[in-house]
Symmetry: none
Subunit: 225 residues, 2 copies
DNA sequence: AGTAAATCTTAAGCCAATTTTAAGAATCCT
DNA sequence: AGGATTCTTAAAATTGGCTTAAGATTTACT
């Protein structure tokens, strides 16, 4: 679940990011309009919600929103506006945004609005499964053959990534970017370690592992369809 | 599918290389402008995309790009630029590049741009087949008559190259350049060895091999169209 | 705040699979 | 036939993943 924040005030951006990360979202921040638009357009299919500051250096929020709407009619956009800068009547007509929230806002408020917008088309996305494994994002639980299995945050995130891509190869570079948020050369065996611990928790002796290794490329979890 | 990276920061170059290799590209790196230009000009027809750092020791990216453009108007060039060093207006006019991307960038972002420039729609790129053989890049599986066949990375890459060029002769030097890399010893019998192992995995006794030898030239896989 | 526990990350050695080299056998072509 | 090219096999070299354990870091609790 990925969210883009386009916001030049670092303190607000960080505050929102921290909160959303605790809720299990993966968060990108752009601190000006131009980068924000670029990120949005490049990854339009990846974002579940986009949070747009109304007043931005480089390019204002409305313009960004219009450009986003050219690419995607569906991605939810929420404006963050300073108090009293918006003429509500105009707002509704002019922008392609789905909602807006006035600063200062409480995190709870923001989260509630995000949830509302995401529920429109993503209710079914809260549960992923393959074979005997089931993962419920909402409840943050995982079960195998109906029996709950305790996972740490990272284990959960990794398994979720696999299940979202079941049947497809998950390349190491992509895993590092999506589960760990690292965008540079990374020489670490961290993936191996977590694969190992997932296997320890899910695999049964004698049977094939739920996670298949594809040497030199990455890993894959089979689809049951 | 070959890509040239001209980039002096090893960490970036390696990160991009690893990611692209996992995606099945064959990657060359030059760590300064002079070598980069030379590689580009020597093999201009081989590269599907060239990634150019904007600021380079020896010779800057713009100069390299101009020289590349003298040789080839068609090869896509993407600039990698440090944040805020580019005047966008000038950029479009002055350089012969097709696109640029600001550092730091995510690998997904870069890959999306590469795919756009290669004008290959992702869905189209994912499955190759001829006769009874089918290769799926996304799932990283190969099947003959619907039955999966296990291939190593190099076997997979070689078969992919044949299927991308089905019906056409694949010359030995081209195979070496595209599946292995530029600097590979041409006298090696490595292709023979891999052809042999592909045949062992796909051919049936009595029937003609899926791969035809064209003596003195190379190999070919028949098209079914 | 201080401490304990859990989790995350790094690092190193080991092992197995893959890649590459090499060399003799087989085949093709003039 | 004889040289060149390709095929086949096996052994050497290399790479990459697995596993473990220990060091960092974060979280939870007193």
């Amino acid at each position: 679940m990925r969210i883009l924040i386009v916001e030049d005030e670092t303190s607000i951006a960080n505050f929102v990011r921290d909160g959303l990360e605790e809720e299990g979202f993966s968060v990108d921040i752009a601190d000006n309009g131009r980068n924000g638009l670029q990120l949005a357009l490049d990854n339009i299919a990846e974002y579940d919600v986009i949070l747009l500051d109304w007043m931005l250096p480089g390019m204002n929020g409305i313009e960004i929103c219009r450009n986003i709407r050219k690419e995607s009619k569906s991605v939810p956009v929420i404006f963050l506006t300073a108090k009293d800068t918006v003429d509500d009547a105009v707002f509704g007509l002019e922008s392609g945004a789905n909602d807006y929230i006035r600063k200062p806002f409480s995190f709870e408020e923001l989260l509630a609005r995000i949830r509302v917008l995401m529920r429109k088309d993503e209710t079914e996305l809260l549960v992923f499964s393959t074979g005997s494994v089931e993962l419920n994002i909402d409840k943050h639980i995982v079960a195998k053959d109906g029996k709950p299995i305790e996972l740490t945050q990272k284990e959960f995130a990794l398994l979720e990534y696999f299940l979202r891509n079941k049947g497809k190869v998950c390349r190491r570079t992509r895993i590092i970017e999506n589960v760990w948020d690292l965008h540079f050369d990374y020489d670490s065996s961290i993936i191996d370690v977590y694969i190992n611990s997932l296997r320890k928790k899910f695999d049964e002796p004698g049977k094939t592992s739920i996670i298949t290794t594809i040497r030199g490329i990455g890993y894959k979890i089979e689809s049951d369809e």
